[in-house]
Symmetry: C2
Subunit: 329 residues, 2 copies
DNA sequence: TCCAGAAACTTGAACGATCCAATCCTGCCT
DNA sequence: AGGCAGGATTGGATCGTTCAAGTTTCTGGA
């Protein structure tokens, strides 16, 4: 392989000092146009690339962002993370950052990993996907002034740290309104137990949309842990007790269960899921779709804002989901 | 925040020189037990972590492995990559490496990215998922002696470079044998156009298993691009022309299409898919399951083998898939 | 023409780890 | 007691970049 090209090689080739080359790269405006051109030509001719390790040593910044990759849980929601990570990588790249993966089995280990990543790699920032009430991870990071963004609101204190989220309530409300417009009145909701921020939010969207249309939502909802079997069980219960003509679900897993429960029921019950997962696309399930690429991009925006300048806490971003229409509603 | 802990801090604390600390970290065997213990205690007490940038500058090695994250293609196969990446991150971590993500829209850009990653981050190795005949990427990497492993065989030259793969033929053969044991004779195959290594391999497994059982596979297979709609179309064709009692598919997408085509057909046609994606689990589709975590682990093994020592090209690894039994077969 | 001040560029030092070569012990043998 | 071999330890140089301070060149006004 060719000789290693360093800043000194470029300097020699352009007949300037190392520092001038460095200035061309980092503060071009203080270099005379003619000199700058000469240096840039040399950089291109030699194929020079600034060595990140050396730069990092001096500046203390790695231009690396960490993101966690989960073991695919129930499998269905896996692809959400997948798409988000792709968007993150793409946008971060454009902003001059790279994405480093890590995993952890529980919060304690995850925090230990933070320490490791910060200590050995001097990571610039973290992106956390999903947070819960009183999340120890965000607390740890905030205590140490480590820049981070969460994809998912901090439900207990909306101004605790920068975040990007998708308006779940708006999504379920939109789904509900669509069903109302189609003439449905008895629109049920299948969701998660009270207490999870995301779940409560999605249920609220459905409830408020019904109320706005003058329909009383009382008794029309059921709660359970996520899962296809659970969804099927609760949907059967709903069919017997309140006989809804349509149902909005907090996830595609629940919606899939609901679909199985209503098989053969006539007239057909409309079903709308949440997350627009591949499964939904595969079975033709109408589902609320999150703009994941956009969410990832905004996460990077917030981070670069914090990293490259402004000390003020950036404004949180709340994105609007859309409805992926298929044939179940 | 606390004072930065460097190797000098540890040395002072343990009353030894920097070099001794370095030796404890890199060649523990040459340090006297008692001294080593004292240094290790100091490391723990101070929470010291070797700065990777400084280490990298001297050694030229980053302990970073690059992996590509694709835009989720048809969505269904996304989770395969997801699970593989998770496994990769986990195993690499255990081996002291970290996984860096990159994306690219085509081969040229991907190769440009290699140059960038190698130049600026001095990446130690690449993991490529899926290769095609005469892949320009592997060629580029091999030309420059950049260590890399592919998950997927180099179909044109099996000893071209280290690889890990799952025996697709064994998977379809196993699926076929299961159907044979269940009494099926007219077992069709839904696959991809001739010319893709993976597709041809999977078809061969089905064909050979049929022949071994004395069944003539002629006319029992159909080829198409991947996709649910395509699968449905071809399955309808098969039903009309050869009326199979079971079908083995090259992917879950095709299998899903097949499932839709056979809805209402009596007696029910058995279907087996490939990849054991979340969709398969969701709809109860029996599917060939690839040991993705294991595959990722072996990729890391091969890489660390190349990176940490032996100059000889390591032996490729061919893993056996298993059958995830559900209610479609 | 001369000089102050700004702009442009150059030089030396530092970041934190590892490698190399030289020195210091320590115990052992004669 | 002296010498020696061997392992353990030390100091200095180095990786490629940026920062801080120093030097030269340019510009414009008196």
């Amino acid at each position: 392989m060719a000789e290693k090209v360093t800043i000194a090689t470029v300097a020699r080739h352009a007949r300037v000092s190392r520092q001038t080359v460095s200035n061309v790269l980092n503060s071009p405006h203080i270099v005379r146009q003619e000199t700058r051109q000469r240096v840039e030509d040399a950089i291109n001719a030699l194929g020079y690339r600034a060595n990140q390790a050396a730069r990092q040593m001096r500046t203390g910044r790695s231009r690396l962002i960490a993101a966690r990759i989960d073991p695919t849980r129930d499998g269905i929601n896996g692809s959400v993370l997948d798409r988000f990570l792709h968007g993150l990588t793409e946008t971060a790249d454009a902003a001059g950052y790279r994405v480093l993966l890590y995993t952890a089995t529980d919060d304690d280990r995850e925090i230990a990993t933070y320490g490791d990543l910060l200590g050995t790699y001097e990571l610039d920032a973290f992106v956390l996907v999903g947070t819960k009430y009183g999340d120890p991870r965000t607390e740890w990071l905030a205590d140490r002034d480590v820049p981070f963004v969460t994809f998912g609101r901090p439900w207990d204190a909306l101004d605790a740290h920068p975040w990007v989220d998708v308006d779940g309530a708006a999504g379920t409300a939109q789904a509900t309104r669509r069903l109302l417009e189609a003439g449905h009145r008895r629109i049920a909701f299948l969701g998660w137990p009270v207490g999870s921020g995301v779940g409560d939010d999605r249920r609220a969207g459905w409830r408020d949309a019904l109320r706005a249309a003058g329909v009383d939502p009382t008794g029309l909802h059921r709660e359970t842990e996520d899962g296809i079997a659970e969804g099927e069980r609760l949907m059967r219960d709903l069919l017997v007790t309140v006989a809804p003509s349509a149902v909005v679900c907090a996830s595609d897993s629940l919606a899939l269960g609901a679909l199985q429960a209503i098989r053969g029921v006539d007239p057909p019950v409309s079903v709308i899921g949440f997350d627009d997962t591949p499964v939904a696309a595969a079975v033709g399930l109408t589902s609320v779709s999150q703009p994941l690429g956009e969410a990832a991009a905004r996460c990077v925006d917030l981070l670069t804002g914090v990293l490259d300048g402004a000390h003020e806490t950036p404004t949180p971003v709340l994105l609007q989901p859309s409805l992926a229409l298929r044939h179940t509603a």
